[in-house]
């Protein structure tokens, strides 16, 4: 199943500038693996070495943080949309 994934600015270098990509998977782990195979290097930017999501990066399934669902095992349905949203710090610059 193809799911739309929104890519944040800091990761767009890895997706050839695309702000939205399509990825295949039944759950979020599978989506991440699929993203990694299409855009090598993306997984390590959002996941720790043990595969867990980094603590300053969130993934939203529609408008819900996946940590409050089944995290990376959260299952996906047709028309679901994922957004990767990292913490950003700039204000004063």
């Amino acid at each position: 199943m193809a799911i739309k994934v929104r890519i944040p600015t800091p990761l767009r270098k890895l997706t050839n500038g695309s702000d939205e990509v399509s990825a295949e998977g039944r759950n979020i782990s599978e989506i991440i693996e699929n993203l990694e195979s299409n855009f090598p290097g993306l997984k390590e930017r959002i996941c720790e070495a043990d595969g867990k999501l980094r603590r300053f990066v969130n993934i939203y399934l529609n408008d819900e943080d996946i940590r409050f669902k089944k995290n990376l095992e959260t299952e996906l349905n047709e028309n679901d949309e994922l957004s990767i949203i990292p913490a950003i710090a700039g204000g004063a610059f």
């Binding site: 600015t9 300053f56 819900e64 957004s83 950003i88 710090a89 204000g91 610059f93």
Partner: protein, 275 residues
């Protein structure tokens, strides 16, 4: 509260709003807001808070005005280059609205001073530019039970959130538990930010702050607002209270303020203040 004739005229566009009225304007004049950072986000927030007649505005910033700031930090101007930002901001605010009492803190906020500094304010607004300060501000706001209006930006993206620990609502650490380790965020040289984006995000922070003081509308608390300037798209996602949050969760482990180490590129040269 008795208004002077000048005040009635100055705030007339507020006073005629049924949601604000004389009562609301009096709340604003008695309101106390602390703004961390007189930079990209602080500049537009401060201008609108001052124009709205927020009676006491605290500002903390350790930097001085630099030419490269003026592309977005609209509270300063070319003549103020080299001047402490808090004093430049105070000058602009004083000229804009004599009703506002500005309390300027020229210096950095640390674990030793932040709680005491924010204690006297009703709402704190975070316009800081680095993760250590952002987490310090969140933790201090939690310990002091202050509503925190947080804004941040990066290139063309902005985020706004409101955290209300006193209402048992989530904190910044519920959203992002820890700052990124060194080397995992793009370096300062790569960053850059669209000047007008600072205006959008800073003014949204001012809107939420004013609503907070007036007690009107639906607070953004419990949500994260994301703005993508290139797509001209706003999105709102939910921020849940994390029962395992190290700061506000049931088994919290953070009992006092934590000083995180700054990224190498966040260590700024003091040169701008020494010119």
């Amino acid at each position: 509260m008795d208004f002077t004739e000048e005040q009635i005229e100055r705030y007339s566009r507020h006073i005629i709003l049924p949601e604000v009225g004389g009562k609301g304007q009096a709340k604003l004049l008695k309101g106390r807001v602390f703004v961390l950072g007189a930079g990209g986000l602080g500049s537009p927030s401060l201008l609108y808070l001052a124009a709205a007649g927020v009676g006491t505005i605290g500002i903390a910033d350790g930097d001085c005005v630099d030419l490269s700031n003026l592309q977005r930090q609209v509270i300063h101007n070319t003549e103020r280059i080299g001047k402490p930002k808090v004093l430049s901001a105070k000058e602009t605010i004083n000229a804009l609205n004599p009703d506002v009492n500005v309390v300027a803190h020229h210096g950095r906020l640390t674990v030793d001073n932040i709680r005491e500094i924010i204690r006297d304010y009703d709402v704190v607004l975070d316009g800081s530019d680095n993760f250590p300060t952002r987490f310090l501000m969140n933790d201090a706001a939690f310990f002091e039970q202050k509503t925190l209006v947080s804004g941040s930006m990066f290139r063309f993206d902005g985020q706004v959130a409101v955290f209300k620990p006193a209402k048992g609502l989530p904190c910044y650490r519920c959203l992002y538990p820890e700052p990124p380790p060194k080397g995992l965020v793009p370096s300062c040289q790569e960053a850059g930010v669209l000047g007008a984006l600072a205006g959008v995000i800073g003014v949204l922070q001012a809107v939420e702050t004013v609503k907070e003081i007036l007690g009107i509308g639906d607070s953004l608390a419990g949500h994260l607002l994301i703005f993508d300037a290139l797509k001209m798209a706003f999105r709102k996602v939910k921020v849940r209270k994390d029962p395992e949050c190290a700061l506000c969760g049931e088994n919290a482990t953070i009992k006092e303020l934590v000083q995180y180490e700054e990224q190498a590129c966040e260590l700024r040269a003091p040169s701008a203040c020494e010119r």
